[in-house]
């Protein structure tokens, strides 16, 4: 199966990456960037299921990312809860919020769903900003502790890299399995014709909410990891622009494919953390331009280029053979 080869290739690349990168001084910090790629990949895989497979949209996923981050942060800093416990509490709380918001929101479609999620995302950011006693407000929440496994602190980049990407691979395999199953087919049927899916007995409303909650929980998990890695949280990191960047990761990479989400996340994270530094604040111009170009010229995303190349090669072999 194509997925199996892709998965193996990814694992090989992930293993070789730190080995290679730490040897070259100029790019040794790429390890740090790759950790962020991993964290954001958790979110984008969930979004890919929601948008690419189930055909819905969320312009507020930064809120779930933020909920996870701040839950971990607040529990650890204010209540001295163990980070691992906080990482369970975060997704639980997020699941409840996502369910409460999801049930009424997912009755809406298209523009209205987009606006509802947008509104929700901004409300959460406002709350994070205003509840200074709890979150530290605009000045942020600092000294979030790092993670420890069996007493040993995960304070090296490499150890965090391994943790994050192991998690990503586990989630990836889970999501791939879901995609290639009756549930994956049910989601795609909702995307292609919700009416026909209803008539065939697919519980469209339930599935939409379920996948929304799943994507929120994944985002929240990413948020917790982010909190423990960076150690400092500020509401401005969880704003509308970040929600849009998350959507871009999925759209630019290719919505109808989990691999597209990974590709898009990798590209946009490296752009944002590395290659667009020369633009400073004007990187948003580049983002806007990329989104516009992709949506207008390459709506199926970058992954479609890869698969089209594969088709051309296959046809070439067939005609040559």
């Amino acid at each position: 199966m194509q997925d199996r080869t892709a998965l193996l290739s990814l694992i090989v690349l992930l293993v070789l990456f730190p080995v290679f990168v730490t040897q070259v001084e100029a790019i040794s910090h790429y390890l740090d960037v790759m950790i962020f790629v991993g964290i954001f990949s958790l979110i984008s895989m969930g979004l890919s299921l929601l948008m690419g497979y189930a055909g819905q949209i969320s312009l507020g996923h930064a809120a779930f990312f933020g909920l996870g981050a701040y839950t971990s942060g607040i529990l650890c800093v204010k209540l001295a809860v163990s980070p691992w416990l906080a990482m369970v509490a975060g997704p639980l709380l997020t699941a409840v919020v996502a369910y409460a918001v999801g049930v009424p929101s997912l009755k809406l479609k298209g523009h209205y769903l987009a606006m509802a999620t947008l509104g929700f995302g901004v409300i959460v950011r406002i709350v994070l900003n205003e509840e200074v006693g709890l979150t530290g407000g605009p000045s942020g929440l600092s000294d979030v502790p790092g993670l420890k496994i069996l007493g040993a602190p995960l304070d090296s980049e490499l150890s965090f890299y391994i943790l994050v990407w192991t998690l990503v691979l586990l989630v990836l395999v889970f999501c791939l399995n879901v995609v290639h199953s009756r549930i994956g087919r049910a989601l795609r049927s909702i995307h292609d014709s919700e009416l026909a899916a209803d008539a065939m007995g697919v519980e469209t409303a339930r599935y939409k909410v379920m996948i929304f909650v799943l994507s929120a929980v994944l985002a929240s998990l990413g948020g917790s990891l982010y909190a423990h890695y960076v150690g400092f949280l500020s509401p401005s990191s969880f704003n509308l622009l970040f929600s849009i960047k998350l959507v871009m990761m999925v759209v630019v990479g290719g919505m109808r494919s989990l691999w597209g989400a990974l590709l898009g996340t990798w590209l946009l994270t490296f752009l944002g953390n590395e290659w667009l530094h020369v633009f400073k604040d004007f990187d948003i111009l580049v983002y806007g331009a990329i989104l516009l170009l992709v949506v207008m010229a390459l709506p199926e995303g970058l992954v479609s280029v890869v698969s089209r190349l594969g088709e051309v090669r296959k046809r070439g072999k067939e005609s040559a053979g």
Partner: protein, 274 residues
Amino acid sequence: MSAMDARRHQPSELLHVDSLEKSFGGIRALQGLTFSVAEGSIKAVIGPNGAGKTTLFNLITGLFAPTGGIISLKGETISGRRPQEIARLGVSRTFQNVLVFGRMTVLENVMVGRHIRSRASILSTGLRLPGMRREERQIQARAMEYLGFVGLEDRAREYAGNLPLGEQKLLEVARALATEPKILLLDEPAGGLNTRETERLAEIIHRIRGRKITVVLVEHDMNLVMENSDEITVISFGQKIAEGKPREIKKHPAVIEAYLGEEADYLNSPAGRG
């Protein structure tokens, strides 16, 4: 004709529609509609455009609830219930404006039909447990069977959106059959089909009846209707104006008057009069 008006469930009756009413705002789409469908039969519902036939199907399959009246399946009330519940109880349908899952393959379309007859949860699929894998194989095998039933096995790996209209219509039939319905509602299955395709369709309808599945057919193709149905109900402006066997309906004055058109020409033609 009198048996239709009995309120108690008749043993051979599968579907019973009783005093059905549906209004959309100010428009009364259906009023006081009552009829039954005998188990194992092929019933056609005909009538001029706008008569309310698709609304009837939408009510039976639960797309919306009636404003009055009751629909029951083997004595059990299904009107007002959700489409998913009704599908699970054994009612399936095809759509007038074909609604295949265009970006999924032909085989996957039919596999979606197997959705309500399968059970794997998100956990067992995510973890790919052995029970789920077994069920997947069964789903695929049964889906291929249904494709074979309508003659589309060769198209299994193609995207449904790329199929010509005639084959998409057959795909919808296969998909609907995959839900293992007791009764199958076909909404203008012959619309846009040529003669050869329509004949193939008729043959499939008979084989469906052979599998003990009741068929209700909304159709404009009079040939198809007259040659293949056991009983016909005629609706005009949301009301039943006639009901009976094909040969009775052909001569029925109210029916001829309601149609006043190509159908009337048919009814007056040698084939129609015969």
